[in-house]
Symmetry: C2
């Protein structure tokens, strides 16, 4: 008997009706002869509602108690789904992260999954039950404290469970039909990708495509678990994320991201160690710096620009201003009106000239590029925030992703 | 250092504001030099909301999943209260029933507390923390399944914890000022009792006074834990429930209960074993029969009346009709328009004539008594449902509880 892990996000379980639909799908899967482990998120806005309750109490709640609070969310969903499945005559059992043996480190709010001891899951499956596991949560076996693995962590829970249990596939059910070559809200003509490699999906996720969490893709790649991203509202095939794809596209997709802000330090003395002096305190302060550009210096001084999540920009600006002062730099500028546009494609490494086409396409659309960063399968540009949509459309016109090799005669 | 267990019910923690008030009170108690263990219920209507969600899924949810669902309620409260206390500079830590070592049997929905292993509570107290424990919930150590101990079970959790931890007092915070000699909504002149014995409180609770759960009083009596029932909305002293009270009242209070229905089996053959034949199947069907009256038989047949909770009256009527048929009885009548009025007082056992005064007082108010049941410290009468308030008022006029011995020269 094959085993399928099915993960249902907050929208998919947002009401009793939708939970009933999810139960129909799970039961149809068991009737096809598959074992099913279902991983669920909190219903709809539950997590946001709980956060609001906490904020009404204190602006700075202890992380341990925040985890205790938020884990109530999946607990509610998993019990309701177990009831809905049982009502259809299929035995079901819900398990918290702790009961399911999802062992994490002790970092409240952003714990890492260390190991999964799936004894109770295996036992339930052996008895022919559908096992429902709370996503997003685990337990630190040393302190016995309940942890959460960060927002979107239910995807990671699902893929890690699929790896541990030796599942044939991990299905991620969401409110869109799969992974698109560009955001359909920005580019209505964007097509759904039938397949995409782990590496490309990682770059897409990291570049702002919200459909699948980076950590889930990392688990999939490491343990070679095929991930099927699909809609919980229809029966259509979605997008398969897997090791090698049949059609190796040159360009797979375009992602965009408006969640970052740019900091520029002007008049930094141009001497060795300056970058380290600047970025070490930021790292120690927990600020995740994304893109960094250092201008070519002249007259012994230079400018350094970098991007950080908008959520921490105030904190980052404080740290940067303090360090800049010590370094003898002139000014620190903060710019929140930026956006990042990224072109992703594993094929671009063997197709020179892609970067030049990106720059030309943006120039022809009168879009100024403020920062550039590249990997072997990604080109990212920082542009004005109000030009992000235009930039995505321009790149989509230029490359028409997925752009496959045979179509260009390669 | 003394230890106080403080239990806060659903109304007392019904909103972030109220949780902040509870935190103020807990912190004031710690500042007075007491250790505090706080036991909390789910916020306001949370439990009812969760039950409604389950009912929207299925009319017959598995009890295991119902417990999984409902235990999310206290989890939310306890985390929020821990945040509120921490925000006041007092260290706090919340624990689920399972984490607090509340071990129960495996009866989902109505588990019994078997033992409390308070290691993590003691550890937290030793570190100077306020420990917050989820009421109403526990874990079956054999199956490792999460259980709930029935509605109102947070009171039982609190008193059992107080017994285990050797607390000096268990404070039950609620939305009324204490235990009243009669329901103030029915008798506005009813006074708050300063003290009441465990036995009398047991009779009051069992007779319909909702302020304190019977099981909590039983724990208090067994382990001799003084229980202080008081309002969470003011600083007034409430009612002390304890072993011997300073002023031993003849009559402590009047309780009433509209939650029962009456079944009457007419024409039962008057022979040995008939009552057993009737009530054994009801007991096996899980029906909790309260009062039973068997008329004096004539012509070889008799009538038997008894009361059961309205919630199970349909089921009870089915069982009774089936058995009556086998016994050769004539008819089964169901009457939901009844109410029970009870007079409670430990002093009545040494004061003959109390029962006669009850019957006279009701007769003078033109209230017909349909059934009577007595214990050494209680007299209960079944009357028409729409005469319950009048009956309570009549008994209050007659006895003016608390009626203490010296006032009557005893």
């Amino acid at each position: 008997m094959s085993l399928i892990v099915q993960k249902f996000g907050g929208t998919s379980v947002g009401s009793p009706d939708r939970i009933n639909s999810v139960a129909d799908r799970v039961c149809a899967t068991t009737r096809s002869g598959h074992g099913v482990v279902a991983v669920v998120s909190a219903m709809g806005d539950t997590t946001d509602d709980l956060i609001q309750l906490a904020e009404a109490i204190t602006p700075d709640p202890p992380a341990r108690e925040m985890d205790m609070l938020l884990t109530a969310g999946e607990r509610i969903t998993m019990a309701l789904l177990a009831m809905a499945i049982s009502a259809r005559g299929v035995e079901a059992m819900s398990l918290t992260g702790s009961q399911a043996g999802i062992l994490t480190d002790g970092t409240h709010g952003a714990a890492r999954i260390r190991e999964i001891r799936g004894d109770r899951i295996q036992e339930g499956l052996a008895r022919g039950k559908v096992v429902i596991v709370a996503g997003f949560q685990g337990v630190d076996p040393t302190s016995k404290e309940i942890t959460t693995i960060g927002r979107g962590g239910s995807d990671a829970t699902a893929v890690a469970l699929a790896a541990t249990l030796g599942a044939d596939v991990c299905e991620i059910y969401t409110d869109v039909d799969g992974v698109f070559a560009a955001d359909p809200r920005v580019v209505p003509a964007a097509v759904k990708l039938a397949e995409i490699s782990y590496d490309e999906m990682l770059e897409l996720s990291a570049s702002g495509a919200g459909v699948l969490m980076t950590r889930a893709v990392e688990f999939g790649r490491r343990f070679n678990i095929p991930i099927h991203v699909r809609s919980s509202f229809n029966e259509n095939a979605g997008t398969w994320v897997k090791e090698t794809t049949m059609e190796q596209a040159i360009i797979s997709g375009i992602a965009h991201d408006r969640s970052e802000a740019k900091l520029t330090v002007r008049g930094v003395p141009d001497k060795p160690g300056v970058a380290a002096d600047l970025f070490e305190p930021l790292a120690e302060g927990g600020v995740n710096v994304d893109m960094i550009v250092q201008n070519i210096g002249h007259d012994g001084s230079t400018d350094i620009s970098f991007t950080v999540p908008k959520a921490v920009v105030t904190h980052a600006a404080e740290v940067t201003t303090k360090v800049s002062h010590e370094l003898g730099a002139q000014t620190v500028e903060v710019d929140e009106n930026i956006g990042k546009v990224s072109l992703i494609g594993a094929g671009m490494k063997s197709h020179p000239g892609v970067a030049a086409r990106v720059f030309r396409a943006l120039a022809e659309a009168a879009i100024n590029i403020e920062m550039i960063s590249t990997s072997t399968i990604r080109i990212s540009c920082i542009v004005r925030g109000d030009q992000v949509d235009e930039a995505v459309a321009a790149l989509h016109r230029e490359f028409q992703p997925p752009l496959v090799a045979e179509e260009v005669g390669a």
